[in-house]
């Protein structure tokens, strides 16, 4: 059984310093596109959207030539450097595919592996599939610090998928566009995705940063990576905030218990507390402390609610997963070329 028309895939590639790789990347994408078309696949690559994030290495010139050469290539030019996540969101908002695959500009992510991402996500009935590097893709320090940062954020927010976030991903088109459309300044794109679905899966893939260990600069220096981590932190809803009013209430109860206990001891066992005025000071301190804790908890809850509303976190979202199994079965039977 085939799907008519085929399920479409848009590929989105943010570009900052990809001059050395863009031509090869596009050729490889075309090979995948042609292979799918030749084999009458129920899925097709309809467009590759390169987002020029104010590149300074001549990538824009190369993109202009690719635009001329390949009718399925589109270029979106940003007015200044906005960063990888905003550039990704811009590309996604210009896409129309039923699935959107995002990848890096530097051939770290092989276009052929996009089909493995698609096979995994459709077999699992998922909405997002992240690539998981089977080997470290960058320097050891960078890999470890990235892992540690995400682990801490995951513990603080209760979002178990944070450690799996990766720029090589395939996302169901409507969800990708919905998340991109509600992204605000400093929103981490994958956090916005997590507001729309929790059907996430991963697949282990071999990846290597071609710029690691060479004299070529990575597109993302240390300062940018720290900003990236900051963006992730700001986007998260910290678990402790969700429990703010409960914590405040518990503290108020504890304060009430301590205060009442001290009062009871003062009344019935006055010989235990000999310091004059101590009980009064204690009762007043725990009363105001407990009340303040409770009120602060309420306020933090309201702040969280308003923050969620402002960020555009949806009340609900709907998708159609009807063609997933057809695609999964076809990709199972047909091995993509290497």
């Amino acid at each position: 059984m085939n799907i008519d028309p085929p399920t479409s895939v848009s590929v989105v590639i943010p570009v900052f310093s990809g001059a050395d790789y863009l031509c090869d990347l596009t050729q490889q994408l075309e090979q995948v596109k042609v292979w799918l078309s030749t084999n009458d696949a129920p899925v097709s690559i309809v467009e590759a959207i390169f987002v020029d994030d104010d590149s300074s290495d001549g990538s824009d010139v190369i993109l202009a030539s690719l635009l001329e050469k390949y009718p399925w290539v589109r270029v979106v030019q940003l007015t200044r450097n906005f960063g990888q996540h905003p550039a990704t969101a811009a590309g996604i908002l210009h896409s129309s595919g039923d699935w959107v695959c995002t990848m890096d500009e530097d051939l770290q992510h092989k276009p052929q592996d996009m089909l493995r991402l698609l096979q995994t996500v459709t077999s699992a009935g998922g909405d997002i599939c992240y690539a998981e590097p089977s080997l470290g893709t960058h320097s050891s320090f960078r890999n470890k610090s990235s892992w540690l940062t995400k682990k801490i954020m995951s513990a603080l927010s209760g979002n178990k998928w944070i450690t799996k976030f990766h720029s090589f991903r395939i996302i169901r088109g409507p969800i990708a566009r919905a998340a991109a459309s509600v992204m605000a300044h400093q929103t981490y794109f994958d956090v916005a995705l997590s507001w729309h679905t929790n059907r996430v899966c991963t697949i282990s893939l071999a990846m290597k940063d071609p710029r690691a260990g060479s004299s070529k600069k990575s597109g993302y220096p240390l300062k940018r990576l720290i900003q990236h981590a900051g963006r992730l932190f700001q986007s998260l809803e910290l678990g402790i905030l969700k429990m703010a009013s409960l914590l405040g209430f518990i503290l108020m109860l504890i304060a009430a218990f301590v205060g009442l206990s001290a009062l009871a001891i003062r009344i019935w066992f006055p010989e235990i507390i000999t310091l004059p005025g101590w009980t009064s000071v204690l009762v007043m301190s725990v009363f105001f402390g407990g009340t303040t804790a409770f009120l602060v908890g309420l306020v933090l809850n309201q702040v969280l609610f308003l923050s969620q509303k402002m960020r555009g976190r949806p009340v609900f979202f709907t998708v159609n997963r009807q063609s997933d199994l057809i695609i999964a079965n076809w990709l199972d039977e047909h091995q993509p070329q290497k």
Partner: protein, 300 residues
């Protein structure tokens, strides 16, 4: 219809805008800004009988005012909506044919130009991503009507410019359709339900009627373009219903109430930016236009 006169390099040309709906009023407004308010020639009601009764007025005007000067006829008098039935579409087709026959009867229109506003959404419905190689495949009476109108125009005018507009929305004026985006804004303030033929994920390409007006003015006034050409007026930026709703909600700060209607038209219709006009066409970003429309609505 509204007639304007352009005097350029000693030559006189007349520009006639037929229709004062969503697109027609935007076109007229922009021509008025350049050429003055023009003169109104009444066409009566939207029936062939009404055309017959105004034939004398039109022929008089052609004989006494236009004479041998060339005319740019800009047809923006579409009445049928996307979901119109066969009867409604036949009414529009009959009116359109009647109008063309009328003017052909009273002047030699082979020296005139017809600029016809058509519908990309109707003609390419269900095509997904439309590019240079996509074949026209209207699937409902509205789309077939638009294609028929284009073919009929080819029989009358050697010089023909067809503008296939995507999903148009416009400013808030009484008495004409304003498109989905504007309807959402209006209904948000009135706490009314907006009916949508599609789903939250349905992608459309939205363009602002004012952009069409400005583009037509630029093209018409700059030079007398002859020959035959078809233009796609789109933004190249697919937008989901979900995104539009969120945008309107954010700008108006009101709740949006929607109802999804049958028959559903949830297939995407989006357009490659490659097939848009490369010169002179500057589509306004949706967010800017929504804010402008919202401001107009709240201050009017």
């Amino acid at each position: 219809m509204r007639a304007f006169t352009l005097l350029k390099n000693g030559f006189k040309r007349h520009i006639v805008v037929i229709g004062e709906g969503l697109i027609g009023s935007a076109v007229s407004r922009n021509f008025s800004a350049e050429l003055g308010s023009g003169s109104i020639i009444p066409l009566g009601s939207y029936t062939t009988e009404s055309l017959l009764s105004t034939e004398k007025v039109i022929s008089n005007w052609l004989k006494t005012v236009v004479m041998d000067d060339p005319v740019d006829w800009i047809w923006c008098a579409g009445r049928a909506s996307f979901t119109a039935d066969v009867l409604r579409c036949d009414e529009e087709l009959a009116y359109y044919k009647g109008f063309l026959r009328l003017i052909a009867k009273h002047r030699r229109i082979e020296f005139d130009t017809l600029q016809l506003i058509s519908s990309a959404g109707g003609i390419f419905e269900g095509c997904g991503l439309v590019d240079e190689d996509t074949a026209e495949q209207p699937s409902r009476p509205y789309g077939r009507l638009k294609l028929k109108m284009e073919r009929i125009a080819e029989n009358y005018f050697p010089s023909l410019h067809i503008y296939r507009a995507t999903s148009v929305y416009g400013s808030i004026y009484q008495g004409h359709r304003s498109g989905l985006v504007t309807s959402l804004i209006k209904n948000a303030y009135r706490f009314q339900i907006t009916e949508i033929w599609g789903s939250l994920s349905t992608l459309r390409d939205f363009i602002w009627a004012e952009d069409i007006g400005q583009y037509l003015v630029r093209r018409t006034l700059r030079t007398r373009a002859l020959g035959r050409k078809t233009y796609l007026l789109a933004s190249g930026r697919p937008t989901s219903i979900y995104e539009v709703m969120n945008l309107v909600k954010h700008v108006t700060q009101k709740q949006i109430l929607i109802r999804f209607c049958e028959p559903k038209n949830s297939s995407n219709i989006v357009f490659s930016s490659r097939i848009m006009p490369q010169q002179g066409w500057y589509p306004t970003a949706l967010e800017i236009a929504v804010r402008k429309i919202n401001l107009d609505f709240t201050t009017s």
